[in-house]
């Protein structure tokens, strides 16, 4: 009896230790399985940093060189691992610098928790030093946010934050903690959040809708699957593959859906959207049943909505009810998470091959290969192309690397030509199109998956938006491979100026610094390639390198990315030149 009572008391003590709010923050992170977080200290978050110092053996804090870098690193970490990324900053400018990354995570459904310090609660609203209304500012770009002014509320707020960020359709959450809440004391006891009564993260899979979908697919002569990141977020890669193979259905992907199915899979017909592949774009307007899985009919995917897949019955597998009928009217909406919905669909599908239909894709691929791909990846002209760099990277990574791309021409080329054997390998800023994303995101990706090869593909414009993160790479010895495809232009904008603004190159030409010297200034091995014959060996050397490596490839200045669906045009008006 006595020992039992003693045990109980001990448990009680363990359950309700008296600690400070700032220690509670760290203990909550550890309880949530956080091993790495990214951030930047400052006045209003110092008590939490003081605790981080004490818990160094359990949790690694990576000092980025800018708070935006912290968010993108947290995103990279989340995108490759499926875990929640964590970023931390002080109040005021520290907090506002997080906004771009938060907005990026919101539109790309990336699970992220941001913790910001805030001025003392007694000073709220007084225009105190480094006070900003970060809860107000971040509201439209967060899945949820809150401000904590009492130490005792910290565990519940953080538990809720992690639960909301990760569950259902993931997204960024911000928790703003006043300095007095960090300094105050509480009886600490951590309980993971198991539910929020006003929030249903995953709608129940409607089996009737699944049956209707199966019937449409079974009767289809020309079915086309377009899948998005919902497959990756729902860990439904195997289910997707099984459905595609059983139904013999050609399947295309959105930019964020890339890598969910290996590039080499015979039913993988490529990327849809503005710079996607010819066949899936063109045949979107010829299929009889369009099966959208975990994608949101972004305007860069659909082109002109009034001419998008009008001939087809549309089936939409989707976790977020707000996406149903948002842009494209669906005939059958299957709410639910992609894994269970596709698993329910599989036994109802008839085996099929649709070989004649598949031949149409092959025919159009041949046209695209002759007119675009061949010249991109096996160029005969003098200047280097972005496409041949990607081909070399594929050769030396054998399609096993995670490719982290920035935004612009190089991004489209990277997504078009990267070979992916492994899921969660295409890490890019899709919805927001955030230049400067790749370098810090590659840091997070490499730290979350140190066994993976992580190659950042960046343009000379975007590189200079977050170039300071070379300092983070150097200090923490993060062996990322950085490839800058330098055309001395903001290439995508220049392409539009060429095609739609009579070559008036307003503010798109860049006079660049010596990127190799800059990398070397950070003690990162670096090389510049200007000739084709140097390329293969340089890529080989980069991939073989054990540490971080910077490779600048000077590519043709005025190359364009094709195919292209001009903005506002129909997917069937996709241009090859």
């Amino acid at each position: 009896m006595k020992t039992e009572t003693a045990k109980k008391t001990q448990n009680m003590v363990e359950k309700t230790e008296r600690i400070t709010g700032s220690e509670a923050v760290i203990r909550c992170l550890i309880e949530e399985g956080v091993d790495i977080l990214y951030g930047y200290p400052g006045g209003a978050i110092m008590p939490v940093y003081d605790e981080l110092y004490k818990f160094q053996d359990q949790i690694t804090h990576v000092l980025t060189r800018h708070e935006q870098g912290a968010t993108h690193a947290a995103q990279g970490y989340a995108r490759i691992s499926g875990k929640v990324g964590v970023a931390m900053a002080t109040s005021g400018p520290g907090a506002t610098n997080l906004i771009t990354g938060i907005a990026d995570a919101q539109i790309d459904s990336t699970p992220m928790v941001c913790i910001t310090g805030q001025v003392f609660s007694s000073l709220l609203g007084s225009d105190a030093f480094q006070e900003t209304d970060i809860v107000g500012i971040s509201t439209p770009v967060t899945k949820w946010n809150c401000q904590v002014t009492n130490a005792a509320d910290i565990p519940e707020a953080l538990a809720k934050a992690f639960y909301i960020a990760k569950s259902g359709r993931p997204g960024p959450v911000l928790v703003d903690i006043t300095k007095d809440a960090q300094q105050g004391e509480l009886d600490f006891k951590y309980e993971k959040c198991k539910g929020v009564r006003s929030y249903k993260p995953v709608p129940d899979t409607d089996l009737e809708a699944v049956a209707k979908a199966a019937e449409l697919i079974n009767n289809a002569k020309k079915p086309l699957i377009v899948w998005g990141q919902g497959v990756i977020l729902g860990q439904a890669e195997a289910e997707l593959k099984a459905v595609i193979e059983k139904g013999g259905i050609p399947a295309a992907w959105t930019i964020l859906g890339a890598s969910a199915l290996p590039t080499s899979h015979p039913l993988n017909v490529g990327m849809v959207g503005m710079h996607g592949n010819y066949a899936p774009n063109k045949l979107t307007n010829e299929c009889d049943v369009l099966i959208a899985i975990g994608m949101r009919f972004d305007d860069r995917v659909t082109g002109k909505l009034s001419t998008y897949a009008k001939q087809a019955k549309v089936i939409h597998f989707e976790i977020d009810p707000a996406e149903i009928d948002k842009n494209v009217k669906t005939d059958v909406a299957v709410l639910g998470d992609s894994k269970s919905s596709l698993a329910a669909l599989l036994p109802l599908l008839n085996e099929n091959s649709h070989s004649a239909w598949h031949d149409e894709f092959k025919k159009l691929y041949q046209i695209e290969f002759e007119k675009v791909i061949k010249n991109d990846i096996h160029p005969v002209k003098e200047g280097l192309t972005m496409g041949e760099v990607l081909r070399q990277i594929n050769t030396y990574t054998k399609g096993n690397a995670a490719i982290v791309s920035d935004v612009g021409q190089h991004q489209m080329i990277a997504c078009r030509y990267s070979e992916f054997n492994i899921t969660k390998s295409n890490i890019t800023s899709g919805g927001l199109g955030t230049m400067g994303f790749a370098l810090p995101a590659a840091i997070g990706a490499k730290m979350a998956a140190p066994e993976r090869e992580v190659v950042a593909i960046i343009g000379d414009g975007g590189y200079q938006m977050t170039i300071q993160e070379l300092g983070t790479i150097f200090q923490n010895k993060i062996p990322v491979k950085i490839v800058v495809l330098n055309n001395e232009f903001l290439g995508m904008v220049r392409q539009w100026q060429q095609l739609f603004f009579d070559k008036r190159y307003a503010s798109t030409e860049m006079t660049n610094p010596d990127f190799v010297a800059i990398a070397k200034g950070y003690y990162i091995d670096a090389k510049r390639v200007v000739k084709r014959e140097e390329l293969a060996s340089a890529v080989e050397e980069m991939i073989a390198s054990k540490g971080p490596y910077f490779l600048e490839v000077c590519v043709e200045k005025e190359d364009n990315v094709f195919p292209m669906i001009p903005a506002g045009a129909s997917v069937s008006d996709i241009r090859l030149s």
Binding site: V135, I164, G195, R197, S198, A322
Partner: protein, 179 residues
Amino acid sequence: MNEEIKTYTISVYTENNIGLLNRISAIFQRRHINIESLTTSQSEIENVNRFVIVVNTAENQASKLVKQIEKQVEALRAYYHTDEETIFTESCMFKIKSDLLFEEPQIQNIIKESNARIVTVNKKFFVLEKSGRRHEIELLRRELSAFGIMQFVRSGRIAVTKDEMKITEMLEAFNNNTI
């Protein structure tokens, strides 16, 4: 879905949390939709708030707005209804010089005919309160403005719906699942 612009009453059941008003109004702002009126209050359920938001828009837009509102973590449920599907009213107050009450006998007739109620009278002014449909309130305001109104204020629309809203059942189901 119908593209015709109509008046829709959006009813939202929410948790009572700081910042939620901002989060909900941002959904309208982002889509460049003007909120005609917005009222928040306690609902029939303990600790659950109710927003009544009036917008003039097309049905497909109203349906998208409701989905975006429901997507917010702290919104329990949202609905949209046409005027025919709701019972609604607004309320208003007038502050008017007391002299007029005696000098202008017509004012007394207006008050009687409009079913307005005198809330208070003192030597300087009296306060009139009326609730009803917008056109009734507008008529009263026009009639009284001929005599001079010291202050006028009108509330947003409040509305109850003809059909049932199963919030209580939803909350019970949540509690049963988690306990």
